[in-house]
Amino acid sequence: MAYNDDKINMVHGAGGEVMQGMISDIILNNVSKTSVNGGIGLEALDDSATIPIDDEHVIVTTIDSHTVQPLFFPGGDIGRISAAGTLNDISVMGVKPLSLNNAMVISEGFERSDLEKIVKSMDETCQEVGAAIITGDTKVIDSDKLDGMIIATAGIGVGKKENIVSDAGLKVGNKVIITGSVGDHGMAIMSKREGFGYETELKSDVAPVWGMVEAAQKVGTITAMKDPTRGGIANALNEMANKANVGMRLDEERIPIKPEVEAVSDMLGIDPFEVANEGKIVMGVEAENAEDVLQAIQKTKYGKDAQIIGEVTDKKHVIMETIIGGERLIEPPIADPVPRVC
């Protein structure tokens, strides 16, 4: 775990503090214009950027590249992830995603039938939210340069300014909602990749979240939201709290987690709060209509297990009341866990 500061390391892509450091040091420091028309730009490190086009409307746009191993996994494949990932980043800005741009880099020798499955899967995912794939690019490269494929997708949505939800809008007293069980995607991928053999039990949650956002916005006010992908909810909750300069108090008992996810993470020593989700949202909502928002989400296809898991405080830390009693600080993961118990 000793990093060489001159080289990019795997931990720089792990979604933790080390990656955040690289982004601000190397990327933010070297880009001169980072936003358009006063919209949400690069500096905000939000899920998507916005470009105001008139007094009322904004374009919401984002891009994401996907390099999952294995390409096909229980609950999904790289096609579904690369569609859902980008659609979700638009959705958690509070805006309906309209379209995807799709760039695929494929290694020489890739199975045609696999490629077809992947494209179909992308398309099905887009159909769920009514989004179109409107432009794209394909490249094929040497099989010794790339194992499998990389898909980069950019997304676009157009919405009203007043509906835009940033990461940073949490207010003290807001309730925190999570739209379903945590850790499903990360544990499923890990288990499949490492051959731990829990394919029948562990399934990725990869899915488009727009339906839940739409339902929530109809009945209440969302003050902030994120999709807790890399770094899990530990990362997403801390990021939201930090950006708003607030803290949270969570109740462990109310955080939904599937028993099989809990068991496998228990056996591997992996914190399920720190692994990726691909079909969930964490959001802050006004306390007075939190119950309504929760019920609306629970009625949607992917939101059955949604829960209010805590509330926003002025304490500057994300603190969880644990089931056994006592409080635990939820910290953003740095990279891999380092043993600390004496």
Binding site: I270, G325, V338
Partner: protein
């Protein structure tokens, strides 16, 4: 005769110990005029007379200083004075101007005079639990600010009655300016509580009755709150264990006097002296063959933590009971700070205590009981807290003028302040991975900075572990104070605390404990280091690195660690079989966890590398079936030590060494495999336990000796939590002394993590020497 005026500034433990009245009396006897006063955290004396008078006066101060005081230094400024300025000697009001290295004393157990008064029906203090004088009572726990005046303590809420005021204002009285003095007419009140105050004429007597009936009582004391129950039967302790969720962790007990203690534990003369000392720490003593307290008190261990009463309340509590001892354990939820606030006590302990014995004096500085254990017939601390804090260590050998704040590691944390040649370790803070404990630490830091009058910090020191909350706090503080952050390797800090305690310039150290983040990103805990007073060190080997499948999981479930160690030597299928047949119920998820752990080892997935000796001892303990998993810190290795005591110490296991990157390493896979084979062949587990401990102790000593040879030094110290182990400490000492080396162990500090912050201060001090 020429007349002089001398201005004396006295540094040390000089406030709150009856220093000023002693000076007053001395001056009066010698017929010298002038005054004495508290100034900031030191004492100022102005006296006039002939040169010889003044010189004699200073000698007399040294000779007749109050028993609880300590003088670090008397700064003398003397000049000729033709017309005398003073015509009397007076004690004048405190002033606030100066800051030195002086400090208020630790809390002291009740003195014999006060105790006699409590038991004397004709005395004003009869039966009064808060009786105190200048020689005894609380100090550190009640003070908010220096100078130590009543108005700066929690006693300010209790104006003195006429009787107490007379004693308080009479320089010839034992209670002259005894800031904690009070009596039933003016002081705090003790009361029994359950859903409201319970009306009773004698709450203390009723409390002991309730305890004897099997109830659990939360008793608020001086620096914190205890959970108390009887020890002669199992039921009350079992109930307490159940309610606390502390299944096996040993409880300390309090026994009324040393005679009663000898009914169930044995002690040496030195142990007895420590037990009875004014600090009244818990001393871990061997159970006597006649031990007849409940086996639930310290299950499966050969020893027992014992302390004697240290307040009037404790003495009164034991007055009417026939119980030989009461459980006295800190009232806190696991990992969280001890409760000190009445409202919190009654709400948070709702499901644990049946009744509460409370009082209305606020506890300002929480301070847990100190714990001492002897090794090689010498005491050292498991926890240095009440009765010792805030007494500083002499760091004048470290030539730095910088103020340094060091935050320690994560578990069993203290922090330390280094200022003007003194290092002040804090009281026990605890497990800072818990939010509440971290908050307590922040408060305690502010407080100790105030008491030591440290208003600027030049360096902040933290552990190297990237995820410790103390590391993060240090980063925050270094931003806030705009100071440089120095990160120190964990075991380097362990060794530095030992080296600075002994005021040495260099040494070789065996550092063996549970977990410490190493320079190379691996988890260290079984190393031989060389270090010196430049603040640098070098690692010279120790135990081989072993995989920890699942990281911290391997600490909680040491069978996983044992599996990792054996994975490096056994055939995979043979190992799978061994685990599934003999140990599958040691894993939380049974056989399927055996498979997953093996896969984890094969893939090197979430598997840190560690050279921790604690983890090796844990592994031996579980492989021998002595313990299954870890219910409390150190459980597996403590039980291993207890079992090993039964062995004849004749069996030998040869250590296997290997050389890697110029370091000599002890191959722990071969050692563990040998342990498994011996057990399979039917050798007694006590013999194997003993032999394995000996092998590790001797082999580490050998590496240390070779290192010492290379540096041409004779001094080898031992540090880290492993050296609470009496047997391992003994074998290392014998091995080193037999070869002509000087063995050094902790005396006034802790081998464990409680002294890491002091070592961090030392290293930062050495690195920043002028």
């Amino acid at each position: 005769m020429k007349q002089y005026t001398a201005n004396l500034l006295v540094d040390g433990i000089v406030q709150g110990v009856g220093f000023r009245p002693t000076i007053y009396r001395l001056a009066k006897v010698m017929k010298l005029n002038g005054y004495v006063r508290n100034m900031g955290n030191i004492v100022e004396i102005v006296v006039q007379g002939t040169y010889d008078d003044i010189k004699l006066f200073i000698d007399q101060i040294q000779e007749h200083k109050p028993i609880r005081s300590e003088i670090n230094n008397i700064h003398v400024d003397i000049h000729e004075q033709t017309t005398p300025k003073y015509n009397d000697f007076t004690i004048v009001n405190s002033s606030n101007e100066i800051s030195g290295t002086a400090v208020i004393p630790p809390d002291m157990s009740i003195c014999d005079e006060c105790l006699d008064e409590i038991l004397d029906t004709n005395n004003q203090h009869y039966y009064y639990p808060f009786t105190a004088c200048t020689n005894c009572g609380p100090r550190f726990t009640i003070i908010d600010e220096v100078p130590y005046d009543r108005k700066n303590t929690t006693m300010k809420k209790f104006p003195l009655c006429k009787h107490c005021n007379q004693e308080y204002t009479n320089p010839l009285d034992r209670r002259y300016h005894a800031e904690a003095t009070c009596c039933p007419d003016c002081g705090p009140e003790v009361y029994l509580y359950k859903d409201g105050k319970i009306p009773t004429r004698d709450p203390i007597r009723q409390t002991s009755q309730l305890i004897d009936e099997g109830n659990i009582i939360a008793i608020k004391g001086i620096g914190g709150t205890h959970l108390v129950c009887k020890t002669s039967t199992d039921d009350a302790i079992e109930k307490l264990r159940e309610r606390l969720g502390r299944k096996t962790q040993p409880f300390a007990c309090m026994t009324p006097d040393i005679q009663t203690a000898s009914l169930f534990v044995t002690y040496t003369q030195q142990e007895k002296e420590v037990l009875q000392s004014v600090a009244k720490p818990i001393v871990v003593l061997n159970k006597s063959p006649e031990y007849n307290l409940s086996p639930q008190l310290s299950p499966n261990l050969h020893n027992q933590g014992v302390m004697l009463p240290y307040t009037g309340l404790h003495h009164l509590l034991f007055k009417y009971t026939l119980e030989p001892a009461y459980v006295m354990t800190s009232a806190n939820m696991p990992g969280n700070p001890m409760l000190i606030d009445n409202k919190e006590i009654t709400t948070k302990l709702e499901d644990i205590a049946d009744y509460y014995l409370l009082h209305d004096r606020k506890i300002l500085n929480r301070c847990d009981d100190s714990v001492i254990r002897f090794r090689n017939n010498k005491p050292s601390f498991i926890r240095r807290s009440r009765g010792y804090v805030p007494k500083p260590f002499d760091f004048t050998k470290i030539n730095t003028t910088k103020n340094i704040l060091a935050l320690g590691p994560e578990l069993d944390v203290t922090f330390s302040i280094l200022k003007e040649g003194k290092c002040y370790p804090s009281q026990h803070i605890g497990n800072t991975s818990k939010y509440k404990t971290l908050e307590f630490m922040k408060d305690a830091i502010k407080h100790l900075l105030k008491l030591t009058r440290t208003d600027k910090i030049d360096y902040i020191v933290a552990d190297m572990h990237p995820e410790f909350n103390t590391t993060k706090l240090a980063k925050e503080l270094s931003k806030k104070y705009n100071t440089e952050l120095i990160q120190v390797q964990h075991h380097h800090a362990h060794a530095a605390s030992l080296m600075s305690e002994h005021q040495l310039d260099e040494m070789v150290a065996i550092t063996a404990d549970g977990v410490g983040y190493g320079e190379d990103g691996n988890i260290w805990g079984g190393e031989v280091l060389y270090l010196n007073n430049t603040g640098e060190y070098k690692n010279h080997g120790g135990l081989t690195l072993q995989p920890m499948p699942g990281g911290d999981l391997s600490t909680k479930y040491p069978i996983r660690m044992a599996m990792g160690i054996l994975y490096n030597i056994m055939d995979t299928e043979e190992l799978r079989n061994l685990m599934k047949t003999d140990y599958s119920d040691y894993f939380k998820y049974g056989e399927k966890e055996v498979d997953i752990t093996l896969k984890q080892l094969e893939n090197n997935f979430n598997t840190a590398q560690t050279s921790s000796m604690g983890r090796v001892l844990d592994s031996i303990s579980v492989l021998l079936g002595i313990s299954k998993n870890r219910g409390y810190e150190g459980e597996c290795s403590m039980k291993l030590e207890s079992v090993a005591r039964e062995g004849f110490d004749l069996l030998k296991i040869e250590p296997i060494y290997e050389i890697k990157n110029n370091k000599t390493l002890i191959n722990t896979s071969k050692l563990l495999y040998e342990v498994v084979k011996l057990m399979k062949s039917g050798v007694g587990i006590d013999e194997i336990a003993c032999a394995a401990q000996r092998t590790l102790a001797e082999a580490l000593s050998k590496i240390a000796i070779n290192t010492a040879k290379a540096y041409n030094t004779k001094i080898i110290g031992v540090t880290g939590g492993v050296f609470y182990n009496e047997y391992i400490s003994k074998v290392v000492k014998e091995t080193l002394t037999n070869e002509g080396y000087t063995y050094i162990q902790h005396k006034q500090t802790c081998p464990g993590d409680g002294s890491v912050s002091m070592g961090q201060c030392a290293i930062a001090g050495w690195k920043t020497q002028e």
